[in-house]
Amino acid sequence: MTKQLGFYLDAEACNGCAVCLVACKDKYDNPVGVNFRKVIHHTMGSWEQDAASPGFMVPQISAYSLSIACNHCVTPVCLEACPVAAISKRDDGRVLIDPEVCVGCRLCQCCPYDAPQFNEALGVMTMCDGCVDLEGTGEEQACVAACPQRALEFGDIEELRAKHGDAVLGGVEPLADPAITQPSLLVTPHRHSTVLTGRTNAVE
């Protein structure tokens, strides 16, 4: 591999507005139930009696959103699970599903991030491809260009890591342990995130 492309998400800036999801869905004309990008809303906490003022309930809650698509993992489980070798990893690190080879068995739904999405009308699995069709056009990925909080970036993971020193590799709750698939996803964690330590993604 010459490089590893991936996403950067500033989870401090993300407010779950989902325009990234709609922009992507619109670009690919995806039907109901097929979403290459997903917005996860994570809530923690509850209400309690206020210690200082009996009779008053006060909240102890926190919440945040994460926007993720395909993490173009270094060791993707989807690729290994595919029985017909429809999934491959490109030289630039992108993980792609070939719709002409896919038989729609859905075994790639083992992905801990729900990246592969079954398109029932076409009978095949479909997935974020990092807007590979826009390569060389100067146009940014649909989600990146759409975000009104400028919370998303896409590019060489090493360059993104150098640019965002406070970012961690994909290991923020409720996302899966990054040690499993080594996602190429850098996240500046929201102040309430629990961060899982994972192995670093070395580019091989």
Partner: protein, 420 residues
């Protein structure tokens, strides 16, 4: 719909997991309980005899769906629990160490168990089968460069293990009862092709031989004894002699069984409230007009889809063209259809190189196809088999011709219909 019903799924593999998934997609809103005797989330088995043996492959990379999927889909999991019986009259499932579970509908997806050889010495340590994650971990413990591995059975599992082991530096011998590799599923040409590959990689093949016993030292296996008197020294043995469908629960419950749980083309058993799917079933093949039993991931998934629909009252036929695959070295063998009843075999391409394909025809109609490293032709074959397409063998045989050119006559099912 049906939000106050409980559907119980017995089994922790592809059939159960996919049935649970499909039930929610069907719109079933009631309770789903999946009971598995294994302590893990339903997981993928193919890597167990491949990458799993030669790497630190961990169970965390194997689940078919991750835990969050079951949570958000409200699918309850009872893992590591053994179902001891089905009380059909009371519509209840008995579970060891747990309260019985009432069901409105039941799915049996108990899969199969590896066949063990009832020969002397089979209780010695170091003799393995491979079906579960624990089996793999146990066998992997004995993997070290130079270790001598004897594999009994040259089916998919035996050969995949051989390929992985030899790549990890083990000294591998494959012992096979029939005269060729993968004799139950592949053409002689393919057997030959793979045999050459294995031999080139240093695997020793002992064909047309059967294992008669095991020799041990201090309770540990030391050799396999063959029918011709050969003694194959071994530190480690894998018995990969096939899979026996697991249907004892069904049989004890009085369901019709015949070497497997008998189901119709909607995966219904002889009890209208009980469905079955996967390796444990004996089912009709609409395409081939006879009853079959298949050990394949694809069949489990397809039957699960049909069973889920049926459990929700929707009529969907299991009218699927079965397909199979095996990864050995950098070769992907893909087989679609069933060859029984062929009257002609066509070899397309050069059978010495990956990319060739073998076509089984009956009266020019494509029944089955097998190929190595040619996924596109595999896809095409699948469509033809489903459409009962007829082909001209002369054109098919000639790799210089595009595959499409071999089809005879107009076939509606193959053309996209311009509607709307």
């Amino acid at each position: 719909m049906l939000s106050n019903e409980t559907f119980v799924l017995i089994g922790g593999g592809y059939a159960s997991s996919r049935t649970a998934d499909c039930l929610r997609q069907e719109g079933f809103d009631g309770r789903i309980v999946l009971v598995s005797e294994e302590p893990h989330l339903p997981y993928s088995r193919p890597p167990l005899c491949k990458k799993g043996l030669v790497s630190q492959l961990d169970i965390t990379r194997l689940p078919l769906r991750h835990a969050a999927f079951y949570e958000r889909s409200r699918i309850e999991l009872m893992l590591g629990k053994h179902v001891t019986g089905i009380d059909r009259a009371a519509r209840r499932v008995r579970i060891e160490g747990e309260a019985s579970l009432d069901y409105d509908k039941l799915l049996i997806g108990t899969g199969g168990r590896p066949r063990r050889l009832p020969i002397p010495g089979n209780e010695l340590a170091g003799i393995h089968v491979i079906r579960t994650y624990e089996d793999m971990v146990a066998m992997r413990a004995g993997f070290a460069p130079g270790a001598r591995l004897a594999i009994i059975g040259a089916g998919y599992i035996g050969l995949e293990t051989a390929a992985s082991a030899v790549g990890a530096g083990l000294d591998v011998t494959v012992i096979e009862l029939s005269a060729r590799l993968m004799s139950r599923v592949a053409a002689p040409v393919t057997s030959e092709f793979f045999a050459r590959y294995h031999l080139d990689h240093g695997v020793k093949l002992m064909l047309h031989r059967s294992a008669q016993g095991f020799e041990g030292v201090d309770g540990r296996v030391a050799a396999v004894l063959l029918d011709d008197g050969t003694r194959v020294a071994a530190d480690l043995v894998l018995v990969a002699a096939g899979n026996i469908p697991e249907f004892s629960l069904a049989a004890e419950a009085g369901l019709t069984c015949e070497g497997g749980i008998v189901v119709d083309d909607r995966c219904r058993t002889s009890d209208p409230l009980i469905f079955a799917a996967g390796d444990c079933t004996r089912h009709p093949s609409v395409r081939y007009g006879r009853r079959i039993q298949l050990e394949s991931v694809d069949n489990a998934l397809e039957q699960a889809r049909v069973a889920a629909a049926g459990m929700c009252g929707r009529k969907v036929r299991h009218a699927h063209v079965p397909w199979f695959w095996s990864d050995q070295y950098n070769l992907k063998l893909q087989i679609v259809g069933l060859a029984d009843g062929f009257d002609e075999i066509v070899v397309r391409g050069d059978p010495d190189k990956p990319g060739y394909s073998i076509w089984y025809l009956r009266e020019s109609e494509v029944l089955c196809m097998e190929t190595v490293n040619n996924p596109r032709e595999f896809m095409q074959a699948g469509r033809w088999i489903g459409a009962h397409a007829k082909v001209d063998a002369r054109i098919l045989r000639d790799a210089g011709h595009e595959l499409d050119e071999a089809v005879i006559g107009k076939n509606e099912l193959l053309e996209p219909v311009a509607r709307g």
